[in-house]
């Protein structure tokens, strides 16, 4: 085990001869530094999060009362399509890529990513892909065929505006950006780990980023291929998915979900990774069952490619296919449960500090469990035959993607903000943010399970005045606005903390991974020297030489 300050990545940095500005906006535009690029990823995602959230609030205003006329059907359809597309492709994916971009080189003791210029390219593909997608609003209408754009509704005959073309080309650009970022992060993790940081010693966040990027590498090409076919249909009159000319509507669904289900894990595995960093540090205990948390991620990733048709139980594929896909889908619950139990076991016997970050992590545990369990009810597919495409499903995806991904992103942001900016976020505002978010989130989505069971389909711009429908929808709308206030408080917290937040120091949380071994924010090149890496927690070993992890072979 060497303790030499050997810094992988240094060579790549030297070879990268690009004009580097030192002040003003050009420092950002021209940068190839993974930290600046990571920050830009985060800022871009936050901007789109506000945009997608605003769309959600417009929808909730329209649905607040039965037979409301705040939005026309056409406006509503564009807005719900853009809400879903934005939150998946312009928020969940880039916020996680941004965290990975910023943190992975720091956590593995590298100076930068393996391919810094490619890194900048993937960021700018995201920025321009997103702007391109939003440009559709003023170019004749945003896409209105839903975020999964089922054919033939997405074909020229039924979606006559250019919205779907913007959707297809915009997502195509984002997809290329994601694939480049995946190649980059995989290369970085495989090649640029500091001496001593073996694959079995990787922080779990890095582990899960690695698995996620493999998923992206395998799944995103399927999306881009499908989008190309849709574009060729729409612009060149081909018939891949045009049914009256011999195409197949189901083909699109198979193609889309063969990307779309791995996608669910693409946006949730890195979130698991952040939780696996936050919970141990604030419990004062090493992660319980490291190998099982990491191994279950591999199991989830493999299974995620074998379950796509569970999005299609209602299309009439036949019992034998339904049964096979139900088995796979139920199996995924096992490795997911293993993670939940290991996180609880990590807290058990610890000394838990309830920082805002930890509160969001605990909130995640409970909220994500609800989403996971309702997911099992879909895998019991006769239940799916009743509740798919209803508000029960809307509730389920939000417990997974909001209660899961977004809660853990908040946990991660409160945890790493001091490292990124050098200043602490306000804990007082943070706690208000957390409790309002938890309240608003459950008001919005818990009752939607019931709405689905009593018959409300998703994606309707209005609904008749049936018993319970009006009152439950009104509760959802009020909850959504409480979440809106919580997000404003978060934004306010960022703004005031950037100027006047408490100075963080190198390691404000007494954390153990390498990113805390450098200054906050880290200098260009990240480290002056690295501590010896003899275990999974190099900084723990430094602080507790008597009980060092490496003495226990970890």
């Amino acid at each position: 085990m060497s303790d030499a300050p050997c810094l992988p990545g240094a060579e790549a940095l030297h070879e990268t001869k690009v004009p580097v500005a030192t002040s003003g906006i050009l420092t950002w535009v021209s940068t190839v530094d993974h930290k600046k690029i990571g920050i830009m990823y985060l800022v871009v995602s936050l901007i789109f999060f506000v945009a997608g959230g605003f769309e959600a609030l417009l929808m909730r205003v329209q649905l607040a009362r039965p037979n409301n006329t705040f939005l026309s059907p056409n406006a509503y359809d564009q807005i719900f399509t853009m809400h879903g597309t934005t939150m998946i492709f312009l928020v969940a994916m880039p916020v996680l890529t941004g965290m990975a971009n910023y943190l992975v080189p720091l956590m593995i003791g590298a100076k930068d990513v393996a391919l810094p210029r490619m890194n900048a390219l993937s960021l700018w593909l995201l920025v321009f892909g997103g702007i391109f997608l939003y440009f559709s609003f003023i170019a004749g209408g945003a896409p209105a065929a839903g975020w999964f754009s089922y054919a033939p509704l997405s074909e020229k005959a039924y979606s006559t505006s250019n919205g779907v073309d913007y959707y297809a080309l915009g997502l195509f650009a984002l997809g290329i950006g994601s694939i480049i970022a995946a190649i980059n992060l995989i290369s970085t993790i495989v090649l640029f780990r500091a001496p001593g940081l073996t694959i079995r010693r990787l922080p779990l966040f890095v582990w899960m980023v690695l698995i996620t990027q493999c998923l992206i590498l395998l799944a995103l090409p399927a999306l881009n291929a499908s989008l190309s076919m849709l574009l060729i249909d729409r612009l060149l009159n081909a018939n891949f998915f045009v049914t009256d000319l011999g195409g197949s509507a189901l083909l699109w669904q198979h193609f889309f979900w063969s990307f779309g289900h791995p996608e669910v894990y693409i946006v949730v595995l890195p979130a698991f990774g952040m939780i696996s960093e936050v919970i141990p540090v604030f419990s004062g205990k090493v992660i319980y069952g490291y190998e099982f948390v990491a191994g279950s991620t591999v199991a989830i990733a493999v299974l995620s490619f074998l379950v796509w048709a569970h999005h299609m139980f209602a299309v009439g594929l036949g019992h034998s296919i339904d049964v096979v896909f139900a088995m796979g889908s139920m199996l995924i619950a096992v490795p997911t449960g293993v993670k939940i139990f290991n996180w609880i076991a990590t807290m058990w016997g610890g000394s838990i500090r309830f920082t805002t970050s930890m509160l969001f992590a605990v909130g995640f545990l409970v909220m994500f469990t609800i989403g996971g369990l309702s997911g099992v009810s879909f895998a019991a597919f006769p239940i799916d035959w009743q509740v798919t495409d209803t508000y029960y499903l809307v509730a389920h995806i939000h417990y997974v993607l909001f209660g899961g991904t977004i809660f853990s992103v908040f946990a991660g942001l409160y945890y790493w903000f001091p490292k990124i900016t050098g200043r602490m976020l306000s804990e007082t505002l943070g706690k208000v943010h957390f409790w309002l978010m938890l309240l608003g989130f459950n008001m919005t989505f818990l009752d939607q399970h019931f709405l689905g069971l009593i018959g409300m389909p998703r994606r309707v711009y209005t609904y008749p005045d049936l018993p319970w429908w009006g009152v439950l929808n009104m509760i959802s709308t009020v909850g959504a606005f409480i979440m809106g206030v919580a997000v404003l408080i978060f934004a306010w917290n960022i703004l005031i903390s950037l100027r006047g937040g408490e100075i963080a120091g190198d390691n404000p949380w007494n954390a153990w991974t390498l990113e805390w071994a450098t200054t906050s924010p880290p200098p260009p090149g990240n480290f002056d020297r690295l501590p010896p890496i003899r275990s999974r927690r190099p900084l723990w070993d430094l602080a507790h030489p008597e009980e060092a992890d490496w003495k226990y072979g970890r």
Partner: protein, 313 residues
């Protein structure tokens, strides 16, 4: 009218799913309670205290890991078995060659229904005899739709080029509402379903009435006769069928017995003379995005057309 709710099944096809939901829901609730209690207990018992010693570092125990891998697996195995049983009960496999009792064709944004045995065409309101299990063939004329009447059983997608089959059965007389459940464009929200389960006699009477040509304009007075002329002149007939006047067009719902229906515009408004006029005056105000254009009719034209359509019992 009973609104379609999963919680209130009225069919031997929907009840097994409701039972399955109870079983799975109970298991879910127990697991959720277990996780939540463990999390809360951990939060309360292991809250950091001032000057507490560093907690003991535990790296994990293989036995525990195996336990919480195997236990959920066994629970899921149980759920899998009850799932298969519910599948067989709620969606029995039709015998080979079995002919459908009903053919439903979904359109943007209404439902066309053919009763092949009886040579009857209906729209949006599906009459069935109570207690009989019918095999339904489901098609789509344009995009993907989804048939969902929650009280009566599973939903099923209507996919162009991919006919599907499902069973339809109601175990008591009544009205069961449902809705299109797959997003299908502007008026997805205005694509409702009404299933009317009737006694065998009532159903036979309804079927007989549907087979007959409506008495038509002749017994509706002068306004109705004017309306009948307008129906042809204003190109209504190029989209809507009325037996004896315009046949084999199914762009919009068949109107041969429109006055006998309970709702208009696929369940969006009740069928009353006032509502019919409101609809004819400006369909886009009642159902924005609907394929029926605003013909900018005069009040007189609307009155005449409505008088005619009201004769089509």
């Amino acid at each position: 009218m009973q609104h379609g709710s999963v919680l209130n099944p009225s069919s031997a096809l929907a009840t097994p799913i409701w039972h399955l939901f109870w079983i799975v829901g109970t298991v879910m609730a127990v697991v959720f309670a277990l996780v939540t209690i463990l999390v809360l207990l951990a939060c309360i018992r292991f809250r950091s205290k001032k000057d507490a010693p560093t907690p003991q570092q535990r790296y994990g125990r293989a036995k525990l890991e195996i336990a919480w891998t195997v236990a959920p697996f066994l629970v899921l195995l149980f759920i899998f078995v009850v799932t298969i049983r519910a599948m067989q009960a709620s969606d029995p496999t039709p015998s080979p060659g079995e002919q459908p009792d009903l053919v439903i064709i979904a359109h943007q944004w209404w439902w066309e229904a053919h009763y092949p045995g009886a040579n009857v065409i209906a729209a949006n309101e599906i009459h069935i005899p109570v207690g009989e299990r019918w095999l339904v063939r489901l098609e789509s004329a344009d995009v993907i739709h989804d048939w969902w009447v929650a009280a009566l059983g599973p939903k099923m997608d209507a996919i162009p080029g991919h006919p599907n089959f499902f069973w339809l059965e109601a175990d008591s007389i009544g009205h069961y509402s449902g809705t299109c459940a797959e997003y299908c464009g502007a008026e997805h929200a205005g694509m409702r379903i009404l299933v009317i389960a009737q006694s065998a006699n009532q159903f036979a009477a309804w079927e007989k009435l549907q087979r007959e040509q409506a008495p038509g304009a002749s017994n509706g007075g002068g306004d109705a006769e004017e309306g009948a002329k307008l129906f042809q002149q204003l190109t209504c007939a190029s989209c809507h069928a009325i037996t004896g006047i315009s046949e084999n067009v199914q762009v919009g719902p068949d109107l041969t017995h429109v006055a006998g229906r309970e709702t208009l515009a696929a369940g969006v408004i009740e069928n009353s003379p006032e509502n019919l006029k409101r609809w004819l005056m400006n369909p886009q105000a009642v159902k924005p995005g609907s394929n029926m254009p605003n013909f900018e009719l005069t009040v007189k034209q609307v009155d005449d057309l409505a008088a005619y359509l009201e004769t089509l019992k």
